[in-house]
Amino acid sequence: MSTTSSSTTGTGRMASWGVDRSVVILLVASVVVLAGAALESPGVLSVNYLLQQLQIAAIVGILATGAMLVILLGQIDLSVPLTITGTAILATSLAGSGNPTLAFIAIPAGLAGGLLIGAVNGLGVAIFRIPAMVWTLAVNAMLLGITVFYTSGAKPAGAPPSLMVFLARERTVGIPNAFLLWLVVGALVLFMLRRTVFGNYIYALGQSPRALFLAGAPVERIIVGVFALAGLLSSLGGLLLVGYANQAYQGMGDSYLMPVIAAVVLGGTSIFGGSGNYSGTFMGAIFITLLASVLSLMQVPDALRQMVFGGIILAMLLIDRARRTP
C-alpha cells in the first residue's frame, strides 16, 4: 500500500514507515504466538491447523471489517453480538422451514436483516444524535428480546443454509472458502475506502464532522450508510458462523464483541476516528484468531480470554497515546 496515495488517512504520524507498522508488528507477534504454542504442541505448525485458523479468521475478519468502518467514523457498534445471533437465527429458521422458497431467501433475508439493524443504528445516531454506544447497546437489548421471544428461550430450530456450510467449511483448491470470501469482501471494502467518494467521506467524517458538513457533504446519509454496511457485514459474519457451527444458538455472538474491537484497534485504526488502514484490520483479525486459538489450546477459560482481549485493547490504546505525546 502506497503511503502517498491521496486517499490514505493522511495523518502526519503515519507518513514514514508507519502505515505498515502495525501490520509488521502483528506479523511478528503472530509468529511469536505460534512459535510459543509450537513448544507446547508442535501440531500448530501443520498446514492444516494454519488453514483452519484462516477459516476462523475469516469470520472475525469480516466482523472486524464492519466494526472498523464504524470506528473510522469515531463511533462504536455494540449491537454486534445480537446482530450476529439475530440474523443467524432468522436465516437458519428460514432455511430449515421445509418451504423451498423460504429456504432460498434464507441468506438474502439474513443479510437484509443485518442491513436493517445497521440502518436503525445509523438512524438513531445520525438523526436523533444519540451517542452510538448507548443507542447500539439499546438496539442490542431489543434484539435480545426479539430472539428470546422468537425462540421461546429454547434452542432455535432450523438448519444452516447449505451455501453457508459450503462457504464456511469447504475448501477450494485447498484454501478455505471462508478465507476466499473474506479476501473478496476485504478487496471491495479496500476499494471503497481508497477509491470512492464515500470512502473519502468516511475518513473526513471521522476527522471533522463539522468541516465535512460545511463542505456540503451528506453527513447523515454517510453515517446511516456506514452503520448499515457494518450491520450487513456483521450478519455476513453471523451467517458464516452458522455454516461453521452448523447451527444457530442463543448467545453465539456474545464472545465476538471484544475480539473484534481488539482486532480493529490492534490494526492501528484510531478509536477517535478518521485514521486506519484495512491491512491493519486484516492482520489484526488473523492475530486475534491465532491468539484465541492458542489460548483455547492451552485450555484457558473463556472468562480469561475475554480479559486478554480487553487487556490488549487497553494496552494498545495506552501505547498509541504514549507514541503520540512524546
Binding site: 462504536i76 451517542p131 421471544f149 478509536i271 480469561l304
Partner: protein, 326 residues
C-alpha cells in the same frame, strides 16, 4: 445546575425532577391497582428493594455521566462486587463489617482504575470502561464460575424488609440521597463535578483541578456500583458472576429518564433514582400485565431504547445544525 429556574422568556419551567416524580407516581398507582395483592407492606418492600438496586446502579452511572463520561463497566463492577461479597460477607459481625468495607474498596478501586484509564491514559470513556469491564467480568467469573456463596442473613434481613411498615430500602435510599445531595450542591467539590460536565475548558480556566475531580467522579461511580453489588448479595444471598450485563444499559436508561444529560453537567442523584424506580415499575407492570412472559425482554429493551431516544430529543430542537458537530 438546578433543574428549576425561570427561562429567559419569563415562563416558569417545571423542574425535570418533578416531571419524573409525577410520572413515577402515576405508574406506581397503576401498578398498585393491577397488582393482585394491592397496596401492602410486602408489595412495597419488593418494589423498593428492586428499585433501590437499580437506583444505586443509576447513581453510579450518574457520577460518571455528570463529568461527561459514560461507564459501560457498571454491570461488570456490580457483578464483581457481588461475587466478592459472596466470598467476604460471612462469619462474625466484625468479619462481615470488614467484608463490607473490602467490597466497597474493590468497587471504588475499579472505579478509580476506570478514571485512571480515562484521565491519565486519555482513552475515550466508552472504550476504556468497555475493556476494563471485560476485565472485571473475567475476574468475577474466575472468583466464582457458577452462582453460589454464603452471605450473612442478619444483615440481609435488616436491609431487605421493613421498619414499622416502611421498607428499609426506601429509608436507606433517602439517607443515601441526602448524604450525597448536600455535598454535591453545597461544596465546591460537588459544584466542580457539575462544572467539568458543563464546560471543561471553563473549569480549567476557573482553576478547578479537573483531572483529580474527574478521577474522583469515576471512583464514586465505582463506590456506588459496589453498594449495588452488596445490595444484590443481600437480596439474593448468592454471588452471581453473570448478573452484570443488564445493569449497564439499565443504569444509562435510568439516568436519561431521570433528567441527567448524557452531555454532562445536568441532573441530580434524586433524578437518577427516580429514573431507576420508573424503569423498575414499568417492568413490574409488565410482569402483572397479560403480556406473554417471553415477550417481556423485548418490551423492556424497547422501553429502554425509547427512553434513551426521548432523552436525546433535545438534539432535534437544536436550531443550528453546526451545534451537532461540536
Amino acid at each position: 445546575m438546578t433543574e428549576t429556574g425561570i427561562s429567559r422568556s419569563g415562563k416558569f419551567k417545571v423542574p425535570r425532577v418533578v416531571i419524573s416524580a409525577v410520572l413515577l407516581a402515576i405508574l406506581f398507582a397503576f401498578y398498585i391497582t393491577i397488582q393482585p395483592r394491592g397496596f401492602s407492606t410486602y408489595v412495597m418492600t419488593i418494589w423498593s428493594n428492586q428499585g433501590l438496586l437499580l437506583a444505586l446502579a443509576a447513581i453510579a452511572q450518574f457520577f460518571v455521566v455528570l463529568v461527561r463520561g459514560i461507564d459501560l463497566s457498571v454491570g461488570p463492577m456490580i457483578a464483581l462486587t457481588n461475587v466478592a461479597a459472596s466470598h467476604l460477607l460471612s462469619g462474625s459481625l466484625g468479619e462481615v463489617a470488614l467484608g463490607v468495607l473490602l467490597v466497597m474498596i474493590v468497587g471504588t478501586g475499579c472505579g478509580l482504575l476506570n478514571g485512571l484509564a480515562v484521565v491519565v491514559g486519555r482513552i475515550p470513556p466508552i472504550v476504556a470502561t468497555l475493556a476494563l469491564g471485560s476485565l472485571y467480568s473475567g475476574v468475577a467469573l474466575l472468583l466464582r464460575p457458577t452462582p453460589g456463596g454464603d452471605i450473612d442473613e442478619t444483615l440481609s434481613d435488616a436491609l431487605t424488609y421493613d421498619v414499622y411498615g416502611v421498607p428499609t430500602a426506601l429509608i436507606a435510599l433517602a439517607i443515601i440521597l441526602v448524604l450525597v445531595a448536600i455535598p454535591l450542591r453545597r461544596s465546591r467539590f460537588g459544584m466542580s463535578l457539575y462544572a467539568i460536565g458543563s464546560s471543561r475548558d471553563a473549569s480549567v480556566m476557573t482553576g478547578i483541578r479537573v483531572p483529580q475531580v474527574t478521577l474522583a467522579a469515576y471512583a464514586l461511580g465505582g463506590f456506588f456500583a459496589s453498594l449495588a453489588g452488596l445490595y444484590i448479595s443481600m437480596l439474593t444471598l448468592t454471588g452471581d458472576p453473570n448478573i452484570g450485563p443488564s445493569y449497564t444499559l439499565n443504569s444509562i436508561a435510568a439516568v436519561v429518564i431521570g433528567g441527567v444529560a448524557l452531555s454532562g453537567g445536568v441532573g441530580s442523584p434524586l433524578g437518577a433514582a427516580l429514573g431507576a424506580f420508573i424503569l423498575k415499575t414499568i417492568s413490574a407492570l409488565m410482569f402483572f400485565s397479560n403480556l406473554p412472559p417471553l415477550a417481556q425482554p423485548f418490551f423492556e429493551g424497547a422501553i429502554l431504547a425509547i427512553a434513551i431516544a426521548l432523552g436525546s430529543l433535545g438534539m432535534l430542537r437544536v436550531r443550528s445544525r453546526l451545534e451537532r458537530f461540536l
